[in-house]
Symmetry: C2
Subunit: 785 residues, 2 copies
């Protein structure tokens, strides 16, 4: 990882700007400028639809939750290996707009381009491109294109395309296309995937044009899912709508539909095309309703118009930043990095309760678009404090897939309970390599943890009763079955043959993180059942019936909570990652050629990797961060010192966590160093793989590094605490968080930490041993640092 990289884009705290279009940067920049609202995702490709090869660009348009399935082949299949893949499918592209300017086709690769900029306005949620183009005949045209994927309208994205002839008058002709001849770039974006999707997978069931509208409907070959999309258009001369009956001319081919329109423009006059695009799928409605839905959505959007949608977008973003923004005084580059990260995680999260969040959001095809634990352990804890409604919708997705998780648990031999899939879109396990997949049982506890955190921070008791309790009980049941009280470990409860977060140590016994998280999952299970017994017996009764559950089961859970086994090294007084970790061969990185160091699985056999004493990423340390109240600072420090020696940080999920724990134990400078590696990781493409999509977990980890790290915020056992500090490099920083309905602002300077209620009634928290309670808006507390 190259953290010495110079900033790729100019330092602008609220904007990301490309100042020159270069082919070699295109693939990466398509991710940088990707837009999404958690449902539609579209990569930052151009309206001109340049024919990039597989290494230069990917015209990517996605709908969260919409996937294609392929038959998976295995060298040797195991019982329970998924037989059908789930891949986020690349959908028809509707962004394409070609413009003939008085007979000359606009292309940035011909003529000359001046005053070029492409800017992601993170404050407004809008992508804007501006340039002045001089054609080969010398015609100068000012071009301005804005694009937004609407947070207000789940199914809508809009492009506003404006041209102004600067030194000529003539015909402006728009050809607005719907291109359905699209395919995933699996060989490039998921090179280890052998099953596809390859080629065109969406079979057309309908393509048509009519008036200013295009419409397409297609069904996937493998998953047999139907999606629909369409566009509607309006052209303005100046501010005047061009309302001609015969304005639009539709043509449809086998796999595309083009709507063309021509208007006269005088020198200096601006012609505007507003293109409204709609996507939907049968996951949201009966197939028969798709077309009328698309038409209605497009009509509504047309009705509202671009200006109105843009305004709504701004309003939404304002509200988001109001809570989520983290302000840093003293480092604009980091400030920009944080905005970029927060912006992208906002975009990434499914918010309809039916979809989750891909590890790469909807910004690319990486990881096949799968949802992993990244959502619950990295992103959700940010949303819980900043967008609790969005956090809840992500939890809803897990609740909605409980049935698949129950079935999966049966396949793994558990008679009761639910086992969530390691990677999935539709709720079924999609991991084809179980040592790095299904063996990561910790996903169960991760989801339970995120849920518990949501409940603690929001106090949303209704959610517990309605959905949360069921998740907590079902996940706990698997923990109560997977291990056993081992005589050879003094009767302690041992969990064997799991893989923890650290993917270089697989199929281990008693992974510290897993055992810890499992115990807490069980503890919350017990507490939940006790809570329901006392406060909502009717709810408990419903669950007992629905789940064939008996309160007596918690007897075993309690016994496990009290007797969970943890590996311990008496000499070093640390918790080894697992039973066998200390026994492994010492790692000698000098034997690994530098170009292979960050790509071990690509260059070394798994057996070579797993027999060495080293770690890919935060594992035990992550557990100690999440449950820091259960360890002394001294204990955490010993473990941190040990693990920072053996951890290679080959996952983007690692440095942010080490940074937080470093802060916890007073290693502020180291914390800052780790944080710096996280904050601009994607923006400056440290891993050289941003083209494949964002690293959502690390992006969210940045927020955690500041709030949970520098400010030492934690919510544990329903108690909020801070341990404020400030890196010496900064003058001040501030952030806000929602806690049980109250909006708290935390401003930390070199001298003091100030806590102020911005909205809401009251809040209690702790700093060290001090208990602080604020009452009413404006009430504040200042702690000297």
């Amino acid at each position: 990882m190259n953290t010495e990289k110079k900033p790729i884009y100019p330092i602008q705290v609220w904007d990301i700007t490309e100042q020159e279009f270069k082919r070699e940067n295109n693939y990466r920049n398509e991710t940088t400028f990707a837009l999404s609202n958690g449902y539609i995702g579209t990569r930052g490709t151009f309206e001109e639809a340049y024919p990039f090869d597989i290494d230069t660009g990917l015209e990517g348009n996605f709908v969260n939750g919409f996937y294609e399935s392929e038959h998976i082949r295995y060298g040797e299949a195991n019982f329970g290996s998924p037989l059908l893949s789930q891949s986020l499918l690349n959908l028809p592209n509707l962004k394409e707009i070609r413009v003939m300017l008085d007979g000359e086709l606009f292309s940035m690769e011909e003529g000359s381009v001046e005053e070029y900029s492409r800017t992601l306005h993170m404050k407004e949620g809008i992508l804007e491109r501006k340039l002045v183009w001089t054609s080969s005949l010398g015609h100068k045209t000012k071009i301005r294109i804005s694009r937004l994927v609407s947070f207000a309208r789940k199914n809508i994205m809009v492009i506003q395309y404006q041209v102004t002839p600067l030194n000529y008058s003539g015909k402006i002709r728009f050809a607005s296309k719907l291109e359905a001849d699209v395919e995933n770039h699996t060989r490039k974006t998921n090179p280890i995937v052998d099953y596809g999707p390859f080629g065109r997978r969406l079979l057309k069931t309908c393509i048509r044009t009519g008036q200013d509208r295009s419409y397409y409907e297609g069904t996937t070959k493998g998953s047999h899912l139907t999606m629909a999309c369409g566009s509607a258009h309006e052209i303005f001369r100046g501010t005047q709508s061009v309302d001609r009956e015969d304005l639009w001319n539709g043509e449809q081919g086998e796999w595309s539909a083009v709507l063309s329109a021509e208007v006269e423009a005088k020198e200096g006059e601006t012609i505007t095309l507003d293109k409204f695009i709609c996507y939907t799928t049968e996951l949201d409605m009966p197939k028969e309703e798709l077309e009328s839905f698309v038409n209605q959505e497009l009509s509504d959007a047309l009705q509202e118009g671009y200006a109105c949608l843009k305004e709504k977008q701004k309003t939404y973003m304002e509200s988001f930043w109001k809570t989520a923004d983290v302000k840093i005084k003293g480092n604009e580059a980091l400030q920009q990095g944080i905005h970029f990260n927060l912006y992208h995680i906002l975009q990434a999260a499914g918010r309809d309760g039916k979809t989750g969040m891909g590890a790469k959001g909807l910004s690319g095809e990486g990881y096949e678009g799968h949802y992993f634990w990244d959502t619950e352990m990295y992103v959700l804890p940010v949303l819980v404090y900043t967008e609790p409604q969005a956090a809840r919708q992500l939890l809803d997705y897990r609740y909605g897939t409980l049935e698949q998780a129950r079935k999966r648990a049966r396949i793994l031999g558990h008679e009761k309970g639910a086992l969530y899939p390691w990677r999935t879109i539709n709720g079924e396990e999609a991991s084809t390599y179980y040592p790095l997949g299904t063996a990561q049982y910790h996903i169960n506890a991760d989801i339970a943890y995120a849920l518990s955190l949501y409940l603690q921070v929001t106090g949303d008791v209704e959610y517990l009763k309605e959905k949360g309790a069921e998740i907590l009980i079902e996940t706990a049941r698997v923990w109560a079955d997977v291990g056993s009280f081992a005589e050879c470990r003094d009767g302690k409860y041992c969990i064997c043959d799991v893989t923890g977060p650290d993917e270089y140590n697989v199929l281990v016994d008693n992974n510290f993180y897993t055992n810890l998280m499992a115990r807490e999952n069980l503890r919350h299970g017990v507490e939940t059942v006790e809570y329901l017994e006392k406060n909502a017996p009717e709810c408990l009764k419903r669950l007992e019936e629905k789940l064939d559950f008996s309160v007596e089961e918690t007897g075993l859970w309690k016994k496990i909570v009290e007797n969970m086994y943890f590996p311990y090294d008496e000499k070093r007084k640390i918790y080894p990652m697992d039973d066998g970790f200390m026994m492994r061969k010492p790692w000698d990185e000098t034997k690994i050629p530098p170009e292979k160091r960050a790509w071990l699985y690509e260059n070394y056999h798994p057996l070579f990797i797993m027999r060495h004493r080293m770690s890919k990423q935060a594992d035990a340390i992550l557990g100690m961060y999440l449950h820091s109240h259960l360890f002394t600072e001294e204990e955490i420090r010993r473990n941190y010192d040990f693990y920072q020696e053996v951890t290679l940080h080959h996952s983007s999920l690692s440095t942010c966590i080490f940074g937080i724990v470093a802060c916890d134990i007073g290693y502020l400078d180291t914390g800052y160093e780790y944080f710096s590696q996280s904050a601009r990781m994607d923006l400056d493409d440290y891993h050289n793989n941003f083209y494949a999509g964002i690293h959502a977990a690390n992006m969210a980890g940045t927020w955690q590094a500041i709030v949970n790290g520098f400010a030492g915020m934690r919510c544990q056992e329903s108690e909020l605490r801070f341990k404020p500090a400030i890196p010496k490099e900064w003058e001040a920083y501030s952030f806000r968080l929602k806690y049980r309905g109250t909006l708290l602002e935390v401003s930390i300077s070199k001298e003091e930490a100030k806590f102020t209620i911005l909205e809401g009634e009251n809040i209690s928290f702790r700093i060290g041993t001090k208990e602080i309670t604020l009452n009413g808006e404006g009430d504040c507390y200042v702690e000297k640092i």
Copy 2:
């Protein structure tokens, strides 16, 4: 496993006889009556070539070492996963002979069949079918067909087809076919294999007929290997050769060649067709020479004639049985089982130094025809004492593939040494699932063990110098690299992330068997180097140069030998199978439906299987058998008692070993019970999968169960010992073995064990603490029991 099965065939100590042809038994009986000479393998299909479906029969003809490759696809590929498969390829069938008896085609499924028998004459090495057939027109014909695959001529098999019209005179027409439209039945024989081979994989390069000859040459699509086969014919009326210029009429189609001949037969006159068949491949000679080689071989075989080849076959078999036969007085069923087992392992073993031995010999497509450790740990120890020349040739195969093993070691990250493949044909790893494949590092030590045993038993020092030392050094080097001295285990040498023989406990740390075998491998490595230093410095020098080896490396080896770590349970005073075994969840078989019990991997996820405390097969116990001199009887008993409780014997490699160890510790009745489960396992098809091929390892294990078990024979540290006992069910038993050039007979009755030199100069051995030396042929020693 059903050990209560009634005998399938009549009890005849030297013969296996099918008394009635039934379709439903066909697939199984094709294996029972399969013939092989270690090079050509042909299943017991009929000359009539009945069109059986995929569940009823497989016309299988194989050549050892000749394989097809397919591109292997993986859900998620790992570095170092084999990309090309190796599958023993089903080759053109030349056994087909159709006979028109006075215009009526002979078929056992039409007309009526009387006096039917099909007999495998194990003493002679010949398969014979006899019957009297009455056609629908009432013509009665006596038919007798003999078949042999020649031990004297590697490339030759012969069919003698005799017909005698009993109540008519007429034309007898033979149509002798070469059928190249053949394919593997992968879906049936290797159902978990997803890559094939499917369909016809041998592309014809030449097919022709001429005179009484047919010839075919083909090249595989994937492995690009060429094979050739052909046939030559001779017809006799009575004993008189029918020598007509125009006797044979050749016709060739796209994928087949037919030679037809017609002769007149009088009532009572026997017409005989001798068909000589030859197979060879470019693995033995340049492609250009294949055709002339086949022609020459066929001419030579014709010249010798059937009678002569049959005689040579008998001579070969006599010589084999002379040493290998185990005689049991008091149980003919077991006697038959033992003959059957020994006969099939004789057939299975490659004996040209270039080929190994498939786990299913050449009797079927099971396990893709791969060679595993079964050869070295089960079969070779039998051959070492009975057919040392054959044992050496199997070792030659491993020596010949050292280069592939060296490359494999590099892929696994070892800078020095050689790592043998878990399953292979051409010497490269063909295991597509490394937890049950490459992780079985013990294969390295297994090969070293078999080699050491060969050297000890034969005293073949030249072999050590020429080839053996190189194998011992190269295997030892991998053991010296794979583990490390672990501080947390008092500086003992630990080997992590391997799979031992027990395939229900995978990727474990410190597998007892592996650590033990690795230590002995290293010890033999040290001893070998010391021996060479003293006795063959020029050989050592050659190896130092060839292998970039330094004697100093043995310093580390010695340190490991002295400090090998073994898991130990202080409370039970036993060696757990691995570090984590005692911690696993207790196994509760009552939760497994009976029909799934023997097929865990087919019905349960690997994680379910590996998290339970149970064992598929002999693992630690196997190590204690092989190195019993390193343990006290008390120790072995404790471990045996423990393991017999937790072992499910779901591998055919298990019961024979438990039987031996039971005898070792005086549990003679239990030993006998285990033995009984092994002895007729295949003959009575206990596993219901004999159709896919023999279980060669278990077959050899039967011999070991008697010789190493009941007679307590062991050769350890170059010392031969016996501990004779006799099961109460038997009156007496006897066997012979070759030890350093001496042929010893051991006869054990209820009263005494008698040891007699049959051939050779002298022999020393031990019974208990008694040292016995016999001198000269006929010298004998009697020990009272």
